[in-house]
Amino acid sequence: MSESIEQTQTHSSRYADASLVRTKFADTIEEIIEAIGEITLVAKREGLVELMMFLRDEPSLKFNYLSDIGGVDLGEFASPRFAVAYQLYSLTHNHRLRVKVFLEEDDANLPTMWNIWKASNWLEREIYDMFGVNFEGHPDQRRILMPADYEGHPLRKDFPIKGY
């Protein structure tokens, strides 16, 4: 795979060393994937808030900036069905990290990150709107882009592209 080596050299985004959390949060972290120069931390929902709190406050990591929360629908018949990816960035150390959580369709609940990063407010509302993932403890969980009385979640794969 000479290609992937080349990639890490040409693209200069820096990704953090996540080995520090591997032992400390052994129950929460399922695996740490390194691909195309990016590090993904696959985590369980249990203990996610504590993990995020640690990632924000630990001086050598200091992920004080929540760049984005992105949802992915893995397909109508997939199990787990949803993936939610938190893109973290550290303004202090200039490095990034992705924390990914997989969710079952009939139990699509996540704890809110409102108490850790305020930026999560609208980002979580958008995922609730587009995928129907419920964020427990969110201060204002309403639809944001679609009308309030809209039915269905448009970015799910079983939602027709023309709409209903």
């Binding site: 990639q7 693209h11 200069s12 985004s13 004080n64």
Partner: protein
């Protein structure tokens, strides 16, 4: 007549009647979605006490067209036609971010000349976008004249885009692997003419608005957001640099060869509308510096503007006429498109408004499985209540102008 005896002091009238709806001094005002100072179709629900804003609730989604959903059904190379329509004032930057993300996923290296063209056009687009901001922001506050000056010069940049790409707004000029085609011969003189005339114009703008005492009174100390809050709300671009955070993705995670250009990142500490104004006014000059350097590099002759990667480059006509396999390759590329290796990537760049990032997931097919766009306007707008609550209603207009939202970017 006993009238004298039923005269009561006015202060106790309310006790005799039903509760007066006007006695509650709070009033809810729906501002927008057709209000000119909301820069599109933003609706704000403002709870007012007199002229003071108690609570502000932004209502968005009027321009939501499901672009992320549409991207899932387009082929990889067709998605650029959608990305440039999101933030229609900074379309070059949007295309660039998407192309970089897919190039990272495919492991494709872009030729040097294409990088220079990308930097030059993206910076010109940043100037054009800031010019629209300058004109409309000043007009919102009441300085009408700046608008006409700004749009005259923006027109020149749009002419440059038309010369290079054939389109003024939605260029879709950057493609995966480089640029769609090389710039024409009259491109360089046209850019040179614009760049030479720009610094005097910038001085004129500064004399017109920056030194204006009314403008300063309307902007200084208005819409303040502290450094800590700015980070917490994940602001980006000039909005966070106006709060004293020195963060520019072109410097911290350089792409397209930005590390080889000489430019500074303007930062102001006060976190008010005035600071954000000064940041953008300085960015005009920095972008102008980058454009000049890129133009010098573009004068060097030759070189391809598109990657030689077999998936990205269409085969030569002559070879197609001789070899059936080359013909098949061309046919498949043109009809089915190309596939991208399985994986996910998060690529962020500095657009005119802040961090625009693409989280692209590929399942190995000829269409993206999922393209998630983190748009700067959306995240910056979410901090609007934190900036305006407690200030006057007239300041809301100034604050909206200062975070420079584009509703196409917010709603997608």
């Amino acid at each position: 007549m006993q009238t004298r005896e039923i005269v009561v002091p006015t202060s106790s009238i309310s006790m005799l009647r039903k509760p007066d709806p006007l006695a509650d001094t709070r009033m809810t005002v729906s501002m927008g979605p057709q209000h000119p100072s909301t820069h599109g179709v933003l609706r704000l629900e403002l709870v007012l006490d007199g002229e003071t804003v108690i609570k502000a609730i932004p209502d968005i989604g009027y321009l939501h067209t499901g672009m992320e959903k549409t991207m899932e059904k387009e082929k990889w190379q067709q998605v650029v036609t959608i990305t440039c329509r999101m933030d229609y004032l900074n379309s070059m930057g949007n295309d660039l971010g998407y192309c970089l993300a897919v190039e990272k996923l495919m492991g494709v290296e872009v030729p040097e000349r294409a990088k220079v063209i990308r930097v030059l056009l993206t910076e010109l687009n940043r100037i054009a976008s800031h010019l629209v901001w300058f004109g409309t922001h000043a007009m919102d506050i009441g300085a009408m004249t700046g608008f006409f000056y700004a749009f005259t010069h923006r027109e020149k940049i749009l002419d440059i885009f038309e010369c290079a790409t054939g389109a003024r707004f939605h260029q879709s000029y950057f493609v995966i692997g480089g640029a769609r085609y090389d710039v024409p011969d009259n491109f360089i003189p046209l850019v040179k003419e614009f760049l030479d005339g720009f610094p005097p114009f910038l001085e004129e703008c500064k004399r017109l608005v920056t030194g204006n005492k009314i403008f300063q009174h309307r902007t200084k100390g208005v819409g303040v957001i502290s450094k800590e809050d700015a980070i917490d709300w994940a602001l980006s671009g000039p909005t966070i640099r106006g709060s004293g955070v020195n963060w520019d993705i072109r410097k911290t995670e350089p792409y397209s060869g930005y590390e080889t250009y000489d430019f500074d990142v303007p930062v102001y500490d006060d976190g008010d509308v005035w600071s954000r104004y000064l940041v953008r006014m300085d960015e005009f000059h920095e972008s102008w510096k980058i454009c000049n350097q890129a133009l010098e590099r573009l004068k060097q002759p030759g070189g391809s503007v598109k990657s030689d990667h077999p998936k990205l480059k269409l085969p030569e006509r002559d070879l197609m006429k001789q070899h059936i396999d080359v013909m098949i390759h061309h046919f498949l590329l043109a009809s089915e498109g190309f596939t991208v290796p399985v994986g996910e990537v998060y690529q962020s760049i500095e657009s005119a408004r802040g961090e625009i990032a693409y989280y692209v997931v590929s399942d190995g097919a000829e269409r993206p499985y999922r393209v998630r766009v983190r748009t700067p306007s959306y995240v910056n707008l979410s901090a609007l209540p934190a900036m305006v609550e407690g200030s006057l209603i007239a300041d809301v207009v100034a604050v909206i102008g200062s975070i420079d939202i584009v509703l196409g970017d917010v709603d997608r």
